[in-house]
Symmetry: D3
Subunit: 117 residues, 6 copies
């Protein structure tokens, strides 16, 4: 079942991203394109960048963005300890209002771990 | 099925608005009243005002508010191209954190279109 | 059925809080600890503090935080009139963007009332 | 000198509020009117309501709104201990991002105290 | 003197934008570029787009962004009545927390009017 | 002159932090304490943690928090290229609403560089 929240998230995300990109909206297409490039290696490596994306998403309290970056962190080989330490900083900076998102983040991370174990 | 997300949204919204208004909370009642008047034609026409409500809702990342204004935009005769151009500006100003809300906005707009086609 | 949204909320919240606290994340543990202490009686009494937590949660538009503080307000013996007056101030300060959260807050409060009636 | 930050704040606030109200903008006028009424005694007393306004302003990180409610709290006879306890809750809920606003809040509160001592 | 707040704003903005663009930061450069294109005529005209940018900036409570879009609205020939009606919607959606920004917006608009009178 | 914005920021920050800590507010004191510990080396190193603090501050658009973390990044030996790459991600995630804060961040970073050159 844990696997499902990952697959479900990705299926909806893919389907609607395709729908959006099928539209002739240049501005949105270019933002999507920037988004892909922004997390490529540069002065900072992918692991650091994904943690930055994760913390930005967490303090802005966007569950779907958190899920996306959790999956990218997982793919980049970050450990649970590294990821939760980053989420701890997000909770301190963003306040206890972040806690419900932390619950969902842990649940999603566990599902990612189970899926690949 | 697409029809359902519109009807479901409206049913819950109506039911709970009635519940709130049944309460003797003058402040909330007056805010609801202001909300109705604010989008009436004035120096700006209804179409412009609804786009303003839509973009404000999108950058503040309130899915239900986005849905409400999408339906009002649809009723006011705004085209998909106009609405998505406004949502593009919201995504640029509000950042990629708006993207998950954009996915749900497109899904709701498509449901509105299907419902009336 | 109304009882369910309270029980469902509390079950998920408990389960995931346990999961988070099982983790060896000192920062998060200490934030959880602060959170428990912050609402204890001090210069301000529990009722006032819970209303402060409720209004902070409402203007920051965190449904789960609103639900948690609604339950604490209910336990502290605050009346529906006191709670909705506080939520009215939150809606004025936070704007109509708070309204969808107000709908869910009323629904949850009604479920709390039913559960204990 | 401490007196100045209070007087300066109030002078600008009064001058620009007059400017706004001189304008024929019904919606804004009615929002100003609601704002005056919302903090009058009701199910909750003025002291509690002003603390709610203060905490809402602090977590939304609006310095001017914090200053305004600090002055109202001061007028309503709330003690420094009560006010800073409320601000502590705001800092916990809103996170360390609230801390710079806390610095300015303490400075303004001290100026209010000095002015009336 | 009213002229000064416009000139001062523009001088700092220009100087620091030049500084940022002198840097070899492709991502930021491309965001700046998107920003220029986003407000060009498309399905929506420039006037509508500038009002959207203004309202998005106001509800997100960014004074500098509000100032920038006020100047663009002024250049696009929007009347004070149209602009303040849009700001009224922003205040309703964003709440009284927007009011301090409304004060600064009126002040800046008046400075723009004086400068060109 | 560039040196001044750093010194001025630090002087006010120190003075008001001392003022706050002189107060007998346990909750705030403990939050300050957590804040000090959170950025110490753990699963993640100081450089990564400071970048996380910087990006969290930037997307939440807190100038003072950005300044503080810029100074910590500078002390931790992060290069201008690394810091501005992180700020680029913040601007993408947080949107163009972050741009005015980016201007002030560049200005502060330049002042830090000048001060130590």
């Amino acid at each position: 079942m844990a696997e499902n929240i990952v697959d479900e998230f990705n299926a909806y995300r893919s389907r609607m991203n395709d729908r959006i990109l099928a539209d002739n909206n240049k501005l949105v297409k270019r933002i999507f394109n920037l988004d892909t490039n922004a997390y490529m290696p540069g002065a900072l490596d992918v692991r650091t960048k994904e943690l930055l994306g994760l913390v930005a998403s967490a303090v802005l309290r966007c569950d779907d963005c958190v899920k996306y970056h959790l999956e990218q962190c997982h793919k980049a080989g970050l450990s649970g300890e590294e990821v939760t330490e980053a989420l701890g900083i997000a909770t301190l900076v963003g306040g206890t209002i972040v806690v419900p998102h932390l619950r969902r983040a842990y649940e999603f991370w566990d599902a990612l771990e189970e899926k690949t174990s």
